[in-house]
């Protein structure tokens, strides 16, 4: 058998490959992170709004100097 580079094709047919980028992201843990991130940001904003409302209510009830 004579060798030239082209016979290397026989070692690896292109058939059999299926591109699956989502699978790569799942393996890397990226998909879960991307799903979690917006919720984490929303939770932080909600917590900040809740804390602000609580402080205002507390300050008003105790007639804190800012609200006199």
């Amino acid at each position: 058998m004579r060798f030239d580079d082209e016979i290397l094709d026989r070692l690896a047919p292109t058939l059999g490959w299926r591109s699956d980028w989502v699978n790569v992201l799942e393996r890397a843990g990226e998909i879960d992170q991307r799903r979690r991130q917006p919720w984490a940001r929303r939770r932080r904003i909600l917590a900040l709004v809740g804390l602000t409302a609580l402080l205002i209510a507390l300050a008003t009830a105790t007639e804190w100097w800012l609200f006199r």
Binding site: M1, R2, F3, D5, I7, L8, R10, L11, A12, P13, T14, L15, G16, W17, R18, S19, D20, W21, N23, V24, L25, R27, A28, G29, E30
Partner: protein, 160 residues
């Protein structure tokens, strides 16, 4: 010079144009389609996870290719070579006339084989091959030449 950050999108772009060629490289090394597919997927996942730590001392393509080569090292390969299925049936039998070719490829030194595969399957230039294999760019040409010569000899030997 400041290195450009590696993003998921930049890795995806490499996946889109290089993954199939990397699959062929992994398949040529392993003769195992499932292992080859897994090696490619896992290498890109690894690159995605570790992208923040990429220092840019070489190309991203070379870095990912190194992962694929590492995942298909000879000592990690199973002894049995399964058939390749394509949904409807077997498209590539493990026991083919190319067993001679695969036997000959395994006879040449690993560095020569990998240099030849990177050149043929990925069409890498000499610099990227050197980065991938951790050798000097000046060695690539001589290694390729030696690979072709030794593979010719090995083929003569296995085919009688």
């Amino acid at each position: 010079m400041e290195q450009k950050a590696v993003t998921v999108e930049s890795i995806e772009s490499i996946y889109r144009h290089l993954a199939e060629d990397l699959f062929r490289l992994a398949l040529a090394r392993s003769s195992n389609p499932e292992l080859a597919r897994d090696a490619v997927q896992e290498s890109f996942a690894r690159a995605t996870r570790a992208r923040a730590g990429f220092r840019g001392s070489g190309s991203l393509e070379a870095w990912i290719s190194r992962c694929v080569l590492s995942a298909t090292q000879d000592d990690r390969l199973p002894a049995v070579e399964p058939d390749l299925h394509d949904g409807d049936g077997i498209v590539w039998k493990a026991e083919t006339p190319d067993a001679d070719l695969r036997a000959a490829v395994r006879q040449i030194p690993a560095l020569q084989r990998d240099t030849l595969f990177l050149r043929f399957f990925l069409d890498f230039d000499y610099l990227t091959i050197a980065e991938t294999l951790g050798i000097g760019a000046g060695e690539v040409s001589a290694t390729l030449h030696a690979a072709r010569r030794n593979l010719t000899l090995a083929l003569d030997e296995v085919t009688g």
